[in-house]
Amino acid sequence: MSTTPDLNVERDVGDFHYDTTYEFDAGVGLNESTIDYICKVKGEGDWVKEFRMKALKIFQDKPVPTHWASDDLNSIDYDKIRYYLSKGQRPSRTWDEVPDDIKKTFERLGIPEKERAYLAGVEAQFDSEASYSNMKEDLSEQGVIFTGPTEALRDHPEIFRKWFGKVIPIGDNKFSALNSAVFSGGSFIYIPPGVKVKQPLQAYFRINAENFGQFERTLIIADEGAEVTYMEGCTAPKFETSTLHSAVVELVALKGAKIQYITVQNWSANVFNLVTKRGMAMDDAEIKWIDCNIGSRLTMKYPGVVMRGPGARGEVLSIALAHDGQHQDTGAKMIHAADNTTSNIISKSISIGEGRSTYRGVVNIPRNLKNCKNNTECDALLINSNSRTDTYPAITVRGNQSTVQHEASVSKVSAEQIFYMMQRGIPEDEAMSLAVNGFVNDLIREFPMEYSVELKRLIDLEMEGSVG
């Protein structure tokens, strides 16, 4: 069996870190005093503390879900993780005010440049707290809010509390409970009725410290008829020990609103990425998750949409690329809870070397609903003889008024295609890259242009050395 040669040329664009001194550090391990510490540093009120303590208890009581998921989850040592680290920074509105060592990191990742080029607003999180947060002035004037949960709790409690923890309850799963106990950082976005934000808002999450757990919390509310596109990017340097990222993302699209949430994840290969993402779509609202998972050691992420209002629409478009030592366990959940709701899942995965990609899905249409439709397509591409892929959908339909179809296929890159390209002078590895790009091309077209270029580049880099 062949193993892919380890090429560390340019693939790990985020694989660097600067030594940083932290002013606040909750220490190693998780118990009630960790939560006391976080609450004190952040100056949080009683209800938040109660929320966190309740979550801690649930986290401690819930078993690791290895009865269906990977046993690799058991290798996370929660006693060795640091749950809160910050320099005590407040998010600044200009890059000049960002502490030098943090700024250096984001400059190297090209974030300020991207902001100038095409973004309507940026938030950049370094370990537990945001370091930078800025949004175009005209959006603020229209009442758009783009901030972190700490600031949202302080400045907009009436909107924040109404939806916080409502789409994903604390006890949804072990990792949502963990996040609810120690959350810090993340984004809070509110788009007022009728406001259509044309350019994307972006958050960038960076893990800098070793043995660290990042637990950002994101809540996006698009009020009636509002529209927003949000993008997040994530990186972490490669350390000897593993790192934990466990976010909770809640989206609320009120009547007629549209939310598009784009993730391009390129965590280093030691990160456990265990994320809970779910949206709630009211009447005629639309939530679209575009999810691209490239890095990490194990990703478990199944973005979902609960279609609560008639005519609501949910969509998940996802690309996963699993290299040696990586397991991309991703998928989608579509919960239909009103008439005339439609959902669409398109998932494409590529397994390279000993990489493993898994699609896991849930589609649920309860009784008495009329004219609900779901379409699911999963395609897996296997590059090497020792690559692996799995598909585990679960579809429940009650009643005779709805239609569901699911299709999945597994294949390899066609030898004829490669031969054809090589005959025309294209080297084999380039031909393979082209074939893989062709496989995901129709999905990548759905991405904003800047992202699709980056994604194609990342796929090319991942494909290097995969032939043979």
Binding site: H67, W68, R367, N368, A380, L382, I383, N384, S385, N386, S387, R388, T389, D390, T391, Y392, P393, A394, I395, T396, V397, R398, G399, N400, Q401, S402, T403, V404, Q405, H406, E407, A408, S409, V410, S411, K412
Partner: protein, 436 residues
């Protein structure tokens, strides 16, 4: 005195005392399986292999009693067991007891074909039985019931077709449940030698409509190189019966093995079928035609495991759900690392005929080799109104139109049955179900 219930510690002892099978290896195996049965836990919903399953009836299994009596007087049942005219052999079992002599077409015995009861085969062909008996397990969740099956099994059917023998007419087996609240354990061992061809059809019926039964049946099919076996089970237990059917289909190289389930009866039927391909060049087909109505639940779990390279498997399970019935289909294609050039398919279609039905579909793939063509599909929908309109516009009443469409829907499986008598019987069963 009433028969003991299944949880009675004396049950196994009584069974052993009354059983006519006095063979050491078999007794040892039964003892081991009885211990395993006692040790294994009852299924729980949190186990993936029991996801969506209704466990209420299964937890109340102790309401059934172990059948410990001798062969019942069942002349009328024997008469009812002659549905098929053109058969190569016939065995009739009532409550796991042989009630009439085994019929085997004379010329076949001369060719070395063995068609007899399991008890008879254990005595007369010990080496053959021992080589194949319970060598495989479906491994799909019902291990506890499988252990109970072996521990308490009293008889069964043994069909052995030697190398190079091809038989046209089917062998038929009738398994009847008679005693109210009784528990039976039908066992089938079907072995086809190299380049042989044979067809086995099993009918599962209850003598009375109102009695209730627990049935834990096992069937194991072995296809040696180049063999072409076909195995069909017509599950038509009455509507008070809780039934398990735990099957393995084992294919060596260049075989064409086909298994079909026609599901009509049972209050709740749990079926586990594992198709294993050990040799290259094989083609394994697994089909099911399921017509639940009332409050029936059909819970089907399947595996298609490709161990050797260059083979094909195709699964097609079709449900037409009526009234308040529910189905679960959980299927998995596993392609092992060395099974390159595998070509595997799996399809589950659900036709929803009422607003109170529920269909759960879990089609899965686990692929560890890369040069493969594997796909699965699942659809759930209703009868197309525009197609119905076509019938109505031509003066065909709605009910008749629906019936015709249902026939059309199942025809894809019925035509594969490859036996005219079975084809017409299957159509009759579908029609009876549709008429309620």
């Amino acid at each position: 005195m009433p028969n003991p219930t299944l949880d009675d510690p004396e049950v196994f002892k009584i069974h052993q005392e009354l059983s006519g099978i006095d063979v050491d290896w078999f007794r040892d195996r039964q003892r081991a399986e009885w211990s395993r049965y006692l040790e294994l836990p009852m299924p729980v919903r949190t186990n993936e292999k029991w996801r969506f399953a209704n466990l209420k009836r299964i937890r109340e299994m102790d309401r059934f009693e172990a059948v410990t009596g001798g062969a019942p007087d069942a002349a009328d049942i024997v008469d009812k067991s002659k549905r098929f005219q053109n058969v190569s052999g016939r065995i009739i079992l009532v409550d796991d007891s042989q009630v009439s002599p085994v019929y085997l077409e004379e010329s076949l015995a001369g060719k070395g074909v063995i068609f007899t009861t399991l008890v008879d085969a254990i005595v007369k062909h010990p080496e053959l039985v021992q080589k194949y008996f319970m060598q495989q397990s479906p491994e799909l969740g019902s291990e506890k019931f499988e252990a109970l099956h072996v521990a308490l099994l009293r008889n069964g059917v043994f069909l052995y077709v030697p190398d190079d023998v091809e038989i046209k007419d089917p062998f038929v087996v009738y398994n009847w449940a008679l005693k109210d609240k009784g528990t039976i354990f039908p066992h089938t061992l079907f072995i086809t030698g190299r380049n042989s061809k044979a067809n086995l059809i099993e009918f599962q019926e209850c003598a009375n409509e109102d009695s209730s039964h627990l049935v834990v049946a096992n069937a194991h099919l072995y296809a040696e190189d180049g063999a072409k076996p076909s195995h069909t089970i017509v599950q038509n237990w009455n509507l008070n019966t809780l039934s398990f059917q735990l099957n393995t289909n084992n294919a060596q190289g260049n075989t064409e093995a086909k298994s079909t389930l026609i599901n009509v009866g049972s209050a709740q039927a749990r079926q586990e079928i594992h198709g294993k391909i050990f040799g290259s060049g094989s083609n394994v087909e697994m089909h099911a035609l399921n017509v639940p109505n009332g409050s029936q639940e059909f819970d089907q779990r399947t595996l298609q495991t490709h161990i050797a390279p260059n083979s094909r498997s195709d699964l097609l399970f079709k449900n037409a759900l009526m009234d308040k019935s529910r189905t679960i289909f959980s299927g998995l294609i596993i392609v092992e690392e060395d099974a390159q050039q595998t070509d595997a398919y799996q399809t589950n279609n659900n036709l929803m005929m009422s607003e109170d039905v529920e269909a759960n579909s879990l089609p899965g793939l686990e692929i560890k080799a890369n040069d493969v063509k594997c796909s699965h599909g699942a659809t759930t929908g209703r009868i197309d109104e525009s197609e119905l309109f076509y019938f109505l516009a031509r003066g065909i009443p709605r009910m008749k139109a629906q019936e015709l469409m249902l026939f059309g829907y199942f025809e894809e499986i019925i035509v594969k049955l490859d036996n005219p008598e079975l084809v017409s019987y299957a159509r009759e069963l579908v029609q009876m179900k549709f008429a309620g």
